[in-house]
């Protein structure tokens, strides 16, 4: 079956099977990651087996290391019976446990076979847990297969179910032309088109008519004409060639319409009709129908399908978070995808928020001193103008300098100030890595992303712990960009400045430097003691508070500030600020 006779490139795609082919291709290109399981159903002779085999062939061609298994349910039953008789039922299960892509045909034959169903259920669970792909084909949808275990039914229906309809006129013509090209057959003008007008329930029947036509041609000294096709069909059906006048009229009109409408418009109109039939708003596509020039149809259709899939995912997520959100109109309109994302993000923030900052850590409890005054001042700016002044704010310093405290304190202060910041995600880099791993295991990465993107501000502690965690870095890169694009504040802490971070991608390090990088040192014991000393009544100004350091910064005599630029380029200025005992990186953009 997987020897290459059945491929995607020799499968004629039409309106009746376009979705099935698109899903099959997607599965073949990335098994286990898109539609799993993928379930085709149709009357026999419409290409289910061809598609199954094409998936297997294409997947193996792309990744020769994949183990792909094709079998019909009857074959599965036979193998299971033999294994049970030999007392090797366990080996039977193991044999399939190594399969990467399992292609199961004639699934309707499971009806009433309790033992096979039970074995298949186990196999199903094992393959799904291992992220392996299952593709099934049947002559009816899962829910119409009688006597099947409900658990198995649920699993079969848990991915994408696609039906394949009988080919319409244009597809029948294309199939006939493809078959003739394959076999080197040539017919006169209009002959194949006339044959395509013969109502055929499936492709096999159509092929049968073509075979009869070939036989007829071989007996005829002159080339066959369209009228001969009508006579042949009438003879074969034991009737006179006078067809139903209304049907004949409709066929004639269909033929003329298909010639009159630009092919691209016809294809797009069919695409629109299909999605409109599924309740999806298609106004966006309809605008292209009125264009004079054809758009890039492949891209347009792929983008639309992708947006619809995204909306479907969002609707499922929304329903999971709050059942009241299911069925909203916004989930039916690809043009409102951003709005739908917003709905789910808000639901995420309300029902499944990301980790919040520790509420015990506030700015007031921080001891201000010479070593952290810049960090405190920057923090105050960020709290006052989130997302506007220093974004990201990158605080680095040795262990115990209080940067974690400050990061959480900023998060709490942002939450407390309101003004559009209600959800603050606060997480350590190592916890974030762990979350990403779990999300990957549970196929919940998209949900993870949304949880964080739903936040109004992001605080990540100890970003140096991302060293070598490439996937988490990748996720952070996209999250970071999304936050900054939306004007949301990002605060990062680390044990070293961005330029000195080990094993962190350059694209992340440069982004960390894009806002304000500020060093934070340990506050001296004397300053701590001073902080703990009760302030005499009426002498509050003497306490080393943030306000104090604000004032202090303002009043530092210019001559005492020893600017010694370490680096000046178009984006930033790095100076040693002697008077403040620190280094400042100032964003110039």
């Amino acid at each position: 079956m997987l020897d290459g006779r059945y491929r995607f490139d020799n499968f004629v795609v039409g309106a009746s099977n376009r979705l099935a082919v698109s899903a099959a291709r997607s599965v073949a290109e990335s098994p286990g990651s898109s539609y799993n399981p993928l379930f085709f159903y149709s009357e026999s002779g419409l290409g289910k087996t061809h598609l199954l085999a094409a998936i297997g062939y294409h997947a193996c061609k792309l990744r020769p290391d994949l183990r792909v298994e094709y079998l019909a349910v009857d074959e599965l039953v036979d193998r299971l019976n033999v294994a049970v008789e030999l007392g090797q039922a366990e080996r039977f299960a193991q044999r399939f446990a190594d399969v990467h892509v399992l292609l199961l045909d004639d699934v309707q034959a499971l009806a009433g076979r309790a033992e096979t169903q039970s074995e298949l259920l186990r196999l199903f669970n094992a393959l799904q847990q291992a992220g392996r792909q299952m593709v099934m084909a049947s002559d009816r949808p899962p829910q119409e297969i009688a006597d099947v275990d409900r658990r198995l039914l649920t699993r079969m229906a848990g991915g994408l179910i696609v039906d394949i309809g009988p080919p319409e006129y244009e597809t029948r013509v294309a199939i006939l032309r493809a078959k003739c090209a394959e076999r080197g057959l040539v017919f006169g003008s209009g002959v194949l088109e006339e044959l395509a007008r013969v109502p055929s329930r499936n492709v096999r029947e159509l092929q049968g008519w073509l075979n009869r036509l070939v036989a007829q041609q071989s007996l005829s000294a002159v080339p066959l004409e369209p009228v001969d096709v009508r006579a042949l069909v009438a003879r074969s059906r034991g009737s006179t060639p006078v067809a139903n006048e209304f049907d004949s009229f409709v066929r004639e009109i269909a033929s003329v319409v298909s010639q009159s409408v630009d092919r691209w418009r016809a294809r797009l109109a069919e695409f629109v009709a299909r999605w409109a039939g599924e309740g999806i708003r298609t106004a966006y596509l309809e605008r292209f129908l009125e264009a004079k020039e054809p758009p890039d149809l492949d891209k347009l259709e792929a983008d639309f399908v992708s947006a619809v899939r995204r909306l479907q995912w969002l609707e499922r997520e929304a329903a999971r978070l709050d059942p009241k959100l299911a069925g909203l109109e916004v989930f039916r309109d690809p043009e409102r995808l951003d709005e739908a994302e917003g709905v789910v993000q808000r639901a995420m923030a309300a029902f499944d928020p990301p980790p919040a900052p520790n509420s015990d850590l506030d700015v007031e409890s921080l001891v201000a001193g010479g070593a952290n005054q810049l960090a405190l001042k920057a923090a105050a700016e960020v709290i006052a103008f989130p997302g506007e002044r220093y974004n990201p704010l990158y605080i680095y310093g040795p262990r115990g300098c209080g940067k974690t405290h400050l990061a959480h304190a900023i998060g709490n202060a942002l939450r407390a100030r309101g003004g559009g910041v209600s959800t603050v995600a606060c997480v350590t880099a190592s916890a974030m890595t762990e979350e990403v791993i779990i999300a990957l295991q549970e196929d919940g990465l998209e949900r993870w992303r949304m949880r964080y993107r739903a936040a109004d501000a992001l605080v990540i502690d100890d970003v140096h712990e991302l060293a070598g965690k490439e996937r988490t870095q990748d996720e952070l890169f996209h999250l970071f960009n999304a936050m900054l694009r939306d004007g949301k504040q990002v605060v990062l802490t680390a044990d070293a400045p961005p330029g000195e971070l080990f094993d962190i991608a350059t694209r992340l390090r440069t982004r960390f430097e894009g806002g304000l990088v500020v060093e934070m040192g340990r506050v001296s014991e004397a300053e701590r003691t001073a902080h703990r000393t009760p302030v005499p009544e009426g002498a509050e100004a003497a306490a080393p508070t943030i306000d104090f350091w604000d004032d202090a910064l303002d009043v530092v005599p210019e001559e005492k500030v020893q600017f010694a630029p370490l680096l000046v380029d178009r984006e930033k200025l790095i100076v040693d600020w002697g008077a403040m005992d620190g280094r400042v990186v100032e964003e110039l953009r």
């Binding site: 139903n244 209304f246 009229f249 009109i253 319409v257 298909s258 009159s260 797009l268 069919e270």
Partner: protein, 201 residues
Amino acid sequence: MPIFNYAAREITCKIVYYGPGRSGKTSSLQAIYAKIPAGRRGTMYSLATQGDLTLFFDYLPLELGRISGYLTRFQLYTVPGQPQYAQTRRLVLHGADGIVFVADSQLARMEENLDSLRDMHEALLVHGVDPRSVPLVFHYNKQDLPEPLVARPAELDAVLNFRGMPSFPGDALRGRGVFEALRAVSVQVLRRFAEPAHPRI
């Protein structure tokens, strides 16, 4: 109203059955109606009829379903043939995409056929349409009558069909030639779409 409505994904063709009174226009629509499968049959409207005469018009919507992604429908109208309803005929003719001229094959009605044809040309000109540009077919009805009473198709062609348009002898009461005429005019109408300019009446 354009024939091809891309936004709504609809193709709508208006076909008008024209001809003298009692030539068989309503019978043609009834013959078509009778051959539409029950599941796809809409309602045929006969507005303001008296006896077997059409005083206003008949209307038969024909839904052909989705073809190449377009919901395709034909709207078939008849006009009242009696001379005094010229205004109604003009109104019904407005917006027509094609015309089936139903001629009465009886020799005794030849003059009325000619009058009706002239009337049709005038009505088209009133709408600012060149009669030569409109898809037109002839249905020579009542060919089932005894030979001495009817003109043969060639004779009818010689008198009425000087532009050499498709013509179909038939018998509307039994449905002969009716679908052939409808098919021919419909194909002409749809093919005109491919032309750069396709004015409607």
